[in-house]
Symmetry: C2
Subunit: 261 residues, 2 copies
């Protein structure tokens, strides 16, 4: 069912989600942002929404209000916002519990968390994307799930506790993986070498991990117990003590993760 939706926030999630919702047949009634300029910029990419200058939405006709602001601003928005009765209020955060939306008189609260890394410079399709739903009641659950399905997302239920685990796992899968790639690139630069040489290796590493499972895809000196190579690498990293220590600790962690290790 097509919804009338109000978007609070103009950041990475809001600016990917709002156009995707319109593409899926919904209508964005209003956009609110702390910066009116950024709200207008997002509005320009949508079908003529009202640019709201405050959080009093009691006269809006939206059935769904989506808070897509930074984690530490969610509670403040939830306490300041005024909604029509029966409207659903949902946030899009992986780390924020559903209870952060608790407020007297507000019955239909939920979480609508797309498990993805969004950035202004890159288009993201919601098709097949995990969309983790939590809801205070069956009505809200149905509305959020239907909205997720309309995006062709992979709609899945997750409690606030589930999301804590997922968000921590995502730190390793996203942030920390990215940091490994950053260090690899810096080592190449340090040696005057073309970083692009690593790209086929990186692509295959990830495809292999996802096909075979990372545990069985693990190779290298740490899993082989090849201490000569480990010691040589550690000497090569003498110029950067933090990365050197990282090398040591990750090697230890790999060795201890071995089946039987």
């Amino acid at each position: 069912m097509s919804q009338l939706i109000t978007i609070i926030g103009t950041g990475n999630v809001a600016s990917h989600l709002a156009p995707a919702l319109e593409d899926a047949g919904h209508k964005i009634e209003a956009v609110y942002g702390r910066s009116q300029d950024r709200a207008r910029l997002l509005g320009d990419r949508l079908n003529n929404p009202r640019i709201a200058d405050n959080l009093d939405f009691t006269r809006n006709r939206s059935t769904l209000f989506i808070i897509a602001v930074s984690d530490n601003a969610i509670e403040k928005v939830a306490s300041d916002i005024a909604l029509p009765k029966q409207a659903v209020l949902a946030h899009t955060s992986g780390t924020t519990p559903l209870s952060s939306l608790d407020r007297p008189g507000l019955e239909n609260t939920g979480v609508f968390y797309p498990l993805q890394t969004f950035s202004r410079q890159r288009d993201i399709s919601f098709e097949g994307l995990p969309l983790l739903i939590e809801a205070s009641n069956a009505f809200t659950d149905e509305l959020l799930s239907e909205t997720g399905e309309s995006l062709k997302a992979w709609v899945s239920k997750a409690t606030s506790e589930d999301r804590q685990g997922i968000h921590l796992a995502a730190m390793f899968a996203n942030n920390f993986t990215n940091h490994m790639l950053d260090i690899a690139g810096r080592i190449m630069k340090q040696g005057g070498l073309d970083e692009n040489l690593l790209k086929p290796l990186i692509r295959e590493t990830v495809e292999k991990a996802m096909t075979l499972s990372p545990a069985s895809a693990q190779t290298g000196p740490a899993v082989r117990g090849d201490t000569n190579t480990i010691q040589r690498h550690i000497r090569q990293l003498e110029y950067n003590p933090v990365i050197q220590e990282l090398y040591r600790l990750i090697s230890r962690s790999i060795a201890e993760s071995k089946p039987g290790g």
Copy 2:
């Protein structure tokens, strides 16, 4: 130019490289492996090579002998092998210096290092794959480069010192990235969550890092200085002290890698 080639080794590199060389129009004259059974298995996938039972190749007609054995076996093979005069002897190792092939009477030595992670279970195309060449003289350089070009690989020159840096960078890009994905998967399992939920995030993380550069793609609590989230994640990891310490150290490394950090 089409070459007659002898392959020493039956492991992951040999068993990907030998069929690719035949597909590119070369002929594998002989295969040698410590295990005759494995040499025969590889031979079965080729156009009827001789399965050699020793390293005396003085009567072979091959112009190129490729040693694709484990790093610590290369010197032993190089000292035991007997070659026709003028033949080129090359190894495929990232970590082993060209000088490990030095031997009186052996003039044409080289390195033919495909920068990729090979495993029995996955097909690898050599097209576009970095193939790092080092050679003792111009004749060898030309023969190895032409052979690499015939595979449509990305042929590039790299000294033994370059390869040391590239191999260390590849540790982070391959081994350590894979370990991050392994930990992410284990955190999901620990919480009874479906690991597949992370796949779209992992794919986008890597594509984004390769498009935008990992440094500018870095997001998350460490780069934002969000100590609340970091502390909560560290508490969540109390059940595994090594991974907990890894979390701390990677977060510190990310914070210190920030431009101006």
